[in-house]
């Protein structure tokens, strides 16, 4: 039934009254002349009328009453907020971002941003998850979010930015909505950075700001109470910003700081009974905050403020724990011990799944790439020490924690055939005495000062706005000054910055012209957003222009994270980095700061760029990476280093590689020289641990074995299996400038050593792995508690020249406190 007359979309348009002006009158003329067309219009009109009533008949759903209330509450909230003089003072809604740079004047408005942001973080996950849990109970997700303090516009913006891909969805929204959000176009996802930037000021200003905002708004309330609440909430901003929960269960626990706010913090509701929790705690803390108002950029006071905030956080946590107990309900009660790690929504970690136990009968080969990165450990430390939060499990990479420490492995002898020495030691597994623990140790050769080849270094420094924090750009500058002291006139240093645009700040300069380099360094200033792509291209180009044949040619990327503006996604960057690595320019990534840290990408690009990745959280760490380990950081002695272990089925029933989850290779990759793997720098050491289930022991941690094959027999032990060898370690590596790999192979025998007989380094490594497993809440940690970890580590400190092991013991203690696991 295809009436040609129906091919005219004007029929529907006219029936719906969408035609206007000339078009309308012309069409009406045609209608008069053509009764068939008129009939069609009549039919379309009838049909659309029917549809209208059909759709109207479907209107049986209305908004749930709780949701409706939440919306209306928000509406009256917004009304008050828009009448708020503080917001007017900041120049209206869209002007926020561009003006907060005058911190003192705008401390108040930053406070609004801050609190709004804190609230926002909860909105998204809460919505759905609570719903799913509460079933027929009142589904009122967002009603909790109807924040009393939310700066509406900021919140909207923060929220838009907090979700990946949300920009796209905003893109569907009307243009002026976007403008109202202060988003400069769809691509400016880096406003997140500006938020982070605002954080520093908010930290100092929030107490005051929130106070003033509150006293404006909470007229009906006792002023003192209002003050107290304001402080607590403002501080919670820091919690929310430093504690990127995103997906973690704990998030829901944050309910405490939501509008039932008075309760958990024990601020008595007006005229009501005191809430649960610790009333004194909040009172005390806010009293202290009082003393630390805006004090300029005085670092000391900032630190003190930080200390007070840490203290408050601990107290808040305590009261939250109590509150959770009181509530006792699963959605809010659990996950006290689940690390959520700090960070703002920019912090991205690849999820990690623990390597499982594998049966030797089914998978006799275990293959992985070495990894000398240490970033995860410094990040864990940063979380525990600075943010007083457990790290998110996905931020914990056990191999990087292991490799952070120096285990005193003997380097290969001078003139040895291979550039590194490998050893294996097998002892009783401390967290499961039925199992054995094999430690594999590689130690790269060390360089004498005169052996170090000349270096051609290009520092690629992120100077975007987010780097303007005491633990970022200043730390970069400090670190580089340290490194300069190691360089001489054969070395070359260039500096490329990237922010809104990339620029060559210092062209290649001999290492002994330190005054010139220093000047360039000190002139670096943060501002703008990040164009990582363009920066990387320019840096590599500079490195190639001054390529030193036979030397160490390296781009050192100093950044806090994202590459969102300009070139591209991870893949494109990885390709660039990979291509350049083949051309002999390697990449080192130094991560700085806590927020906005795109961990997964940094790890990936440094891995592909034949480089290493370290996270620098303190000047001490800068010294470790750039001075003590300068050679290792700068000079690669072996690349594409792969390990393959073949287990003897007569000796081993099953095994598990601890850590290295994202470094596991297919067994075929081992002999494939085209497959990229990790690098070892001069003096680097690599430690890997296997938990081994001896033959004859039941393997309860894994699924039952598959049935034996019907048509073929595999895995029959041969004569060699009759030996007492536990395993054979095979190693492949390439020379830094080579393309073909060399194979090293040697058997390992278990001498039955007990854990207590092992040397301190083995015991310490076991403690580090145990700590990692506990932080990851790994089911494989056996009976070990954090207390066991601490005892083991404390008994294995040894010389500890730089205090790193003692610091580790303290970290374990801190983690135990956070989990309320202290004995």
């Amino acid at each position: 039934m295809s009436d040609p007359i129906w091919n005219d979309p004007r029929i529907t348009a006219y029936a719906l009254g969408e035609l206007a002006g000339d078009e309308k009158s012309r069409f009406e003329g045609e209608l008069q002349a053509d009764p068939v067309l008129a009939e069609a219009v009549e039919e379309a009109r009838r049909l659309t009328d029917q549809l209208r009533s059909l759709f109207a008949g479907e209107h049986h759903d209305e908004l749930d009453p709780q949701r409706r209330e939440a919306v209306l509450a928000q509406a009256s909230e917004a009304e008050v907020a828009s009448a708020d003089p503080m917001r007017m003072a900041s120049g209206g809604r869209s002007g926020f971002w561009h003006r907060y740079s005058a911190p003192l004047a705008l401390a108040a408005s930053v406070g609004v941003i801050a609190v709004g942001f804190a609230m926002t973080r909860r909105l998204t996950p809460l919505g759905r998850q609570t719903m799913m849990r509460t079933n027929d109970a009142a589904p009122a997700p967002a009603s909790r979010v109807a924040a009393p303090l939310g700066g509406p516009v900021m919140r909207e913006q923060a929220e838009g930015l907090s979700r990946d891909g949300a920009i796209d969805s905003l893109g569907d929204a009307p243009a002026d909505q976007l403008n109202a959000n202060g988003l400069n176009g769809l691509h400016d996802r880096f406003s997140v950075e500006r938020l982070a930037e605002a954080q520093a000021q908010a930290e100092v200003g929030s107490g005051k700001a929130a106070e003033s905002v509150l006293s404006q708004r909470e007229k009906s309330r006792d002023v003192k109470e209002a003050k107290m609440e304001g402080k607590v909430q403002a501080d919670d901003y820091a919690l929310a910003v430093t504690a990127n929960a995103g997906l973690s269960k704990r998030e829901r626990g944050d309910l405490v700081v939501q509008p039932l706010p008075a309760m958990p913090f024990g601020i008595p509701a007006p005229g009501g009974a005191p809430g649960p929790g610790k009333p004194q705690a909040a009172g005390e803390s806010s009293g202290k905050v009082e003393e630390f108002r805006w004090l300029g950029s005085d670092v000391a006071s900032r630190r003190e403020l930080e200390a007070v905030r840490a203290e408050m956080r601990t107290k808040m946590r305590a009261s939250q724990a109590e509150f959770d107990k009181m509530v006792g309900d699963a959605p809010f009660g659990e996950a006290i011990d689940e690390g959520r790690g700090p960070g703002i929504p920019g912090d991205r970690f690849e999820p990690i799944t623990d390597n499982p136990f594998l049966r030797v009968g089914e998978q006799p080969l275990s293959t992985f790439s070495v990894d000398v990165d240490t970033a995860s450990y410094s990040k864990v430390r940063d979380y525990l020490v600075r943010a007083h939060e457990l790290p998110r499990p996905d931020a914990v990479r056990i191999e990087e924690m292991l490799n952070y420490f120096d285990y005193g492995y003997a380097p290969p002898e001078a003139g040895a055939e291979h550039p590194f020495a490998a050893r294996v030691e097998i002892v009783t597994c401390p967290w499961n005495v039925d199992h054995r623990l094999a430690r594999i140790a590689l130690q790269g050769k060390r360089l004498q000062a005169e052996q170090r080849p000349p270096c051609n270094l290009v520092f690629l420094i992120d100077t975007s706005g987010s780097m303007d924090a005491p633990n970022k750009l200043p730390l970069v500058q400090e670190g580089m000054q340290l490194l300069l002291s190691k360089l001489d006139r054969d070395d070359r240093v260039a500096i490329v910055t990237y922010a809104g645009s990339a620029g060559l700040v210092l062209d290649a300069t001999p290492g002994d012209e330190s005054a010139k380099i220093r000047r360039a360094l000190t002139e670096l200033a943060a501002g703008g957003s990040t164009n990582g792509g363009a920066g990387i291209t320019l840096a590599y180009q500079t490195a190639r222009d001054h390529f030193i044949a036979g030397g160490a040619n390296r781009v050192i990327l100093c950044t806090d994270g994202d590459f969102n503006v300009g070139t591209t996604g991870t893949d494109e960057l990885v390709r660039i980095v990979e291509r350049e690595a083949k051309g002999g320019v390697f990449l080192t990534v130094l991560g700085f700061g806590m927020g906005n840290h795109n961990d997964a990408m940094l790890e990936q690009i440094s891995g592909r760029g034949n480089g290493n990745y370290a996270f620098i959280d303190t000047d001490k760490e800068a010294r470790k990476v750039l001075v003590q380990q300068a050679d290792a950081t700068l000079v690669t002695i072996a690349k594409d280093v792969k390990l393959q272990i073949e287990f003897n089925p007569n000796r081993v029933a099953a095994y598990r590689l601890i850590g290295y989850e994202n470094r596991v290779l297919a067994k075929e990759d081992f002999n494939d020289d085209k497959k990229d793997a990790g690098e070892i720098g001069a003096g680097h050491s690599v430690t890997a641990l296997y938990e081994i289930v001896p033959a004859g022991k039941e393997v309860d941690a894994i699924s039952p074995p598959v049935d034996t094959l019907k048509y073929q027999s595999v895995g029959k032990p041969n004569d060699a299996a009759a030996s007492d060898e536990t395993m054979t370690l095979k190693l492949r590596y390439k020379a830094p400038d080579g393309d073909t790999s060399r194979l090293v192979e040697f058997p390992v025998t278990d001498t039955g050593k007990g854990f207590d007989d092992a040397d301190i380094h083995v015991r310490f490594a076991a403690a580090v792995a145990g700590f990692g497993m506990k932080l990851r809440s790994s089911p494989y940690a056996g009976k070990w508690t954090l207390a066991d970890v601490r005892k083991t580590a404390a008994a294995a400190i040894g010389d500890d020249p730089h205090g790193l092991r003692a610091e580790f013991v303290e970290l374990v203690r801190a983690a135990a406190t956070l989990r309320s696991e202290n004995e």
Binding site: M1, P9, A56, G57, H60, L63, R67, L72, A75, A180
Partner: protein
Amino acid sequence: MTDQPTESWAERVVTRFERPLLAYACRMLHGDRVGAQDAVQETFLRLCRADRDSIEPRLAAWLFSVCRSRVIDMQRTRSATPTDPSTFDFPDRAPEVAQTLCDAEERTLLSAGVARLTVKQQEVLRLRLDAGLSYREIAEVTGMTVSNVGFHLHEAVCNLRRHMTG
């Protein structure tokens, strides 16, 4: 700022739009009522935070546009965490028998016809005939051109006509 108290304005907006928005979101989310509630609540919350004066003149388009973004956003995350509708225990608010359409049989036929339309056609149809948006507003909401909207709508009408008569 007008002197009209906001509360009653918000209330009026909610009352006026909750049903069509929910119906629209629910359809877009393949019948996920809870999801639709989430999206619509979020839409209204955003409305409260937005600048009312600039939205007022094209309120419907704004609401549907925000709601649509929310729904698309939810669909994007949906694949990662599939939700099982059977885990929800919600009162079934059965539709009242539609009084408006006398011929129940024809209504069923029409409803089946709508279900057979493409997603895009269903969407523009609903936005025009249920939400009452103009072609221009639909274009704004969906990102299509105005003439494309007209084309899709007309296609929908043609298909339905064929379905009803054929």
